[in-house]
Subunit: 274 residues, 2 copies
């Protein structure tokens, strides 16, 4: 991918867009952290609408990110988890999930992240996952993806080779998210073939796949903001990510990510049979 200022009427070379993504994460981190691991009473939380994990942190972080985006790139659009879609006039749309893993967040687990992605038309151009409590960040650049941590180490990400499902480590956020019937059949079929299945991963699963520690992430019914920011991280690290029927993942849906194209193909085949 080459530098492009495109049809947008703002200076939007890749580097300034990437810098913006990092700056947005720097802004949102303190907002989400302020609310992480703060005591919450539980007895008055199951109102009529059932359990709702959306927190003040989620909305606060999206507000500060959107405000900064409008200041920098007034013509860009925004697709956010909390406040929905804001249409811009350029071909760029930022895709935001201030807290991916709200259920992890509310149980005090650090397995959540702030997702910031940018679509150029329908193409994910860059993506970033920030975990302010652990001090970790994962992001894509033009030719590769990287992570950094609180020890200051910047690491180039690379998925690992895994030729066969029997060697694969599979993760998914929660088995109950697979609907009874066909989706549960897919999960059962996968679980019976892989080396190990692990739950509770949210966006961490995709970042650990990009980092070469997980071979397969399979999840149903993702929203655009759950996956679009992670696609460039996965792909620039050497992975493959599509819907269960092999189509682009950039609008969400039922998603497969694989570190090795061979097991991606094996899963597509297995799903087609299920």
């Amino acid at each position: 991918m080459t530098e492009r200022s495109g049809t947008s009427n703002v200076p939007s070379g890749f580097h300034s867009l990437l810098k913006c993504a990092h700056d947005l994460a720097d802004l949102s981190g303190p907002v989400t952290l302020k609310h992480f691991r703060k005591p919450v009473a539980v007895d008055n939380k199951d109102g009529k609408g059932g359990f709702d994990p959306v927190t003040v942190a989620d909305r606060g972080a999206e507000r500060i990110i959107v405000k900064e985006l409008k200041r920098r790139f007034a013509d860009h659009g925004v697709i956010g988890e909390e406040y929905g879609t804001y249409k811009g006039t350029s071909r760029y749309n930022w895709v935001l999930d201030p807290i991916d893993g709200t259920r992890s967040f509310i149980i005090g687990s650090p397995i959540w992240g702030t997702l910031i992605g940018l679509l150029d038309g329908e193409t994910p151009l860059l993506g970033l996952m920030d975990q302010p409590y652990t001090g970790e960040r994962f992001w894509s650049e033009q030719k590769a993806a990287f992570s950094s941590n609180r020890f200051g180490k910047k690491t180039k990400l690379k998925t690992r080779a895994c030729a066969e499902l029997k060697h694969a480590i599979l993760t998914t956020t929660h088995p109950d998210l697979f609907a009874a019937g066909a989706q549960q059949a897919v999960l059962a079929s996968l679980k019976s073939r892989v080396r190990m299945a692990r739950y509770g991963t949210d966006c961490y699963g995709y970042c650990m796949l990009a980092s070469g520690f997980i071979d397969l992430v399979v999840e149903p019914d993702l929203k655009i903001y759950d996956i679009a920011p992670l696609i460039p991280i996965i792909e620039k690290a050497g992975g493959v990510v599509t819907t269960w029927d092999g189509k682009p993942a950039s609008r969400g849906g039922d998603i497969i990510a694989a570190g090795d194209a061979r097991i991606h193909a094996a899963v597509l085949k297995l799903i087609a049979k299920a």
Copy 2:
């Protein structure tokens, strides 16, 4: 609990024992960290004995901890995950799990911890959980339990009130660890009654219960080193932890931990009926 030097022939007041636990965590952290998030090829890992997540890190950390313990308290015994039991001549036995959450460790997730506990006879006297990647530590003192994190904050832990199962957040490490039949029936019964169930927690589940973010952790078949170091942290924070038949948890077994005695009693009743 008062200061005691007991029948041991070394100066073993509570403070020197607690300081030792912190020092052991300081020693083990760099050893486990050296191996965390290091690339591993997967294709040659499913040998005859099936998948074995025990890592070099686990053994290296236990070795360095045991060496230091023998140097400081030659008469104390050790019950370790990796190298088994070393009998001392005093009433003190250290209980060690260098990496609780080996499966989290191998997928690159920071949801694992180094567990260091001390039994005085059959009574858990103190416990500590250290997470060197995130920079978190949870431990018990004589009258309370505490946590600290990389931001330097020391926080007194307190479980939260939760009077009824319908309000409770339940966690367990993996649903497949419950054996088919009675154990799965217990899990299904609990899941149908609580507000939310979440997987993938290992020792973090108990520390988050002590911190007031989880109401209930229920797990089958724990070893002594999976739970003994966590008991004083849970109890000094106001929680209750026993086996499924209401007996002391200090030797492991099927374990219930609850932040509120009322839901602990409710779960015991539910299990007795299952």
